[in-house]
């Protein structure tokens, strides 16, 4: 600690340069935080996917429906413990910008398959009793300032007219990455008010199996069961289904990796250059330190300490800003329903900042370490 004033004094020597370098770190780590949050938002479906859950969709495409009678045949397949189903509604609340997913769900079985969504018993009972009742995620309720009992009109571009719903229940998640922006309403209401061609059809099935290791066998069994029928199925684990959705939008992972790599490589060059200049312009001072008895290793250490201080302070600043920004939730108004920066990513960002600090300081530090006092003083 007694050498800390020396480290800080050296960093304070060129205040603008230090501030700009800190700024570079802060911006890079802020961007890192955002990219992690965006990646998390895209992969949220994969992250929250239940290991024991499978999804069944029409083999042709997701928008093609499946017959409701499939439910009982699916339940008879060995290993299947519960089945539910849902249909995409695709309505608009007030304005096109107010996007959120709406599903017509089977209220009797939906929670058996999604036990992670917590709903107070009295609210759930009120939902079951009201044919026009709906359940909304806590984030969605907060976003639109809804409260229990509110009447919510949703216009349906696909099924026509304005559908009225009564908010009867609010669900919460048990994990930070749980999607709290969904809107569920009763399948019976959908059947009643929807077009005749949708009667007896559902959008997809979700089922639970007794043993996740048995997923491949169950998957094959289901698809074989409905092979050569008018509605052939494609069954996948929930995680695989979520991953295929992400893939449809392009290789987000690769894109994020590329952007992140370019940013950090640039940061490495900027910081490395700063440290190299900082060492070069005080060659004589480092030589004097050595002359009065400071070891080569100490000089190496002090240059690395400066580099690390920059990375720690700049990194903490950037990650702090990213944390504050993501704490506000989805900045896009519904496109990224789960938008947050998990603690593990904060730690990873900090480790990355430290690594850049070491990497950018190591060459200047070694050149400072190898500096010969006599040569350095001769240059003055």
């Amino acid at each position: 600690m007694k050498f800390l004033p020396l480290v800080l004094a050296n960093l304070g020597r060129k205040k603008i340069r230090t501030a700009l370098t800190l700024g570079s770190f802060a911006v890079a780590l802020f961007l890192f935080g955002l990219l992690v949050a965006i990646r998390g938002a895209f992969n949220q479906g994969i992250d929250v996917a239940g290991k024991d859950r499978l999804m069944i969709i029409n083999r042709t495409s997701l928008i093609q429906p499946l017959p409701l009678p499939y439910r009982d045949r699916i339940l008879r397949i060995p290993g299947v413990t519960a089945v539910t189903f849902a249909s995409w509604f695709g309505g608009v609340y007030q304005d096109e910008k107010n996007f959120f997913p709406q599903f017509a769900v089977d209220s009797e079985t939906y929670r058996n398959v999604y036990p992670e969504f917590a709903i107070p018993a009295d609210q759930w009972a009120a939902f079951l009793e009201d044919r026009m009742g709906c359940v909304a995620g806590a984030s969605l309720v907060q976003r639109f300032g809804w409260k229990i009992g509110d009447r919510i009109p949703i216009r349906s571009p696909f099924f026509g007219g304005v559908w009225e719903f009564n908010l009867r229940a609010i669900y919460k998640g048990q994990r930070a990455q749980d999607d709290l922006t969904q809107f569920w309403f009763q399948r019976k209401y959908f059947e009643e008010k929807g077009p005749p061609y949708m009667k007896g059809l559902v959008g997809w099935y979700v089922l639970r199996i007794s043993n996740p290791d048995d997923a491949v066998r169950v998957t094959k069994a289901i698809d074989q069961e409905f092979a050569n029928s008018a509605y052939e199925t494609r069954t996948q684990t929930e995680a695989a289904m979520a991953a295929s959705f992400v893939k449809q939008m392009g290789n987000i992972e690769f894109l994020i990796l590329c952007i992140g790599s370019v940013v950090f490589f640039t940061l490495l060059l900027v910081t490395g250059n700063t440290m190299a200049i900082a060492v070069r312009e005080r060659t004589a001072e480092l030589a004097v330190l050595k002359a009065v008895g400071y070891s080569d290793r100490f000089v190496l250490g002090i240059v690395l300490a400066e580099s690390l201080t920059l990375s720690v302070v700049g990194g903490a600043l950037g990650l702090g800003l990213a944390k504050a920004f993501t704490a506000g939730g989805d900045p896009t108004g519904g496109m990224l329903p789960v938008f947050y920066l998990p603690p593990a990513s904060l730690a990873a960002g900090f480790a990355l900042a430290l690594a850049v600090g070491v990497a950018s300081g190591v060459i200047p530090a070694f050149s400072a370490m190898r500096l010969r006092v006599v040569d350095a003083l001769r240059r003055v």
């Binding site: 007694k2 050498f3 004033p5 020396l6 004094a9 050296n10 304070g12 020597r13 004589a284 001072e285 030589a287 004097v288 330190l289 050595k290 002359a291 009065v292 008895g293 400071y294 070891s295 080569d296 006092v373 006599v374 003083l377 003055v380």
Partner: protein, 239 residues
């Protein structure tokens, strides 16, 4: 007293024997010092003079452990330093040598106090003990009221005083001064030379000084002339 010849016994504080230093530049070998012998006793004040390129600074660097000779030995207070590793030599410098440079070489980002404290940070002294030592050193050089000043706030003479305080604060075995008045006006130079006199006379310090300035050399007890890498003349001044 200073002896230039090769004595029978190594009794001086600083003893150099058959000292050679050569540099290789391309295919050319440049002999800076050749077969130099020197004995300096404790408490002596020695000035080295000579034309540019005569090897004065090289000799000072060798005696201060900043460089190693091509041949020969240097013994200080009974310890031969010529074969010490780089790390050991650094530790030895911290204990035994105080350096005073022509350009002061203070750290501009540190106050006078912090500059003087630098050598003490390598010791096990407590913060309070370090403060006491620094205050004493700055008092010796007459700058106890400038402790919180940064180098940019001090005059040339004051900067060199701070450098002297830094050189003496750890109570080294001897002081090496490389043109300590070379960058100062006449008045300030005189004050610095007075200060070196005080260090030798009142504090018993051993001082070896390289200078071009005859007035500075006059203050030393002995002036040695270096020519083409050899000490050729000795001039003792009665105490």
């Amino acid at each position: 007293m200073v002896r230039l010849g090769r004595g029978a016994a190594n009794k001086g504080l600083i003893v150099a024997r058959d000292l050679d230093k050569k540099y290789v530049r391309g295919s050319e070998e440049i002999h800076v010092l050749q077969g130099l012998n020197l004995d300096v006793d404790a408490g002596e004040y020695v000035a080295f003079m000579g034309p540019s390129g005569s090897g004065k600074t090289t000799l000072l660097n060798l005696l201060g452990g900043l460089d190693v000779p091509s041949a020969g030995t240097i013994t200080v207070a009974g310890d031969e330093i010529t074969h010490l590793s780089r790390r050991r030599l650094t530790e030895w410098r911290a204990r035994h040598v105080g350096f005073i440079f022509q350009m002061y070489n203070l750290l501009p980002v540190l106050t006078a106090f912090r500059n003087v404290e630098l050598p003490l940070l390598l010791t096990h002294l407590s913060k309070a003990e370090r403060r006491q030592h620094v205050e004493t050193a700055l008092k010796v050089v007459g700058l106890q009221d400038r402790m919180a000043h940064y180098p940019r706030q001090l005059s040339g003479g004051q900067l060199q005083r701070v450098a002297i305080a830094r050189a003496i604060v750890a109570d080294p075995t001897f002081l090496l001064c490389d043109e300590p008045t070379g960058d100062l006006d006449r008045k300030s130079a005189g004050e610095i030379l007075d200060l070196l006199d005080v260090l030798v006379r009142d504090h018993g310090k051993t001082v070896l000084m390289v200078t071009h300035d005859p007035r500075a050399a006059e203050r030393a007890q002995v002036t040695l002339h270096l020519e083409k890498g050899s000490l050729v003349e000795s001039e003792a001044v009665p105490a």
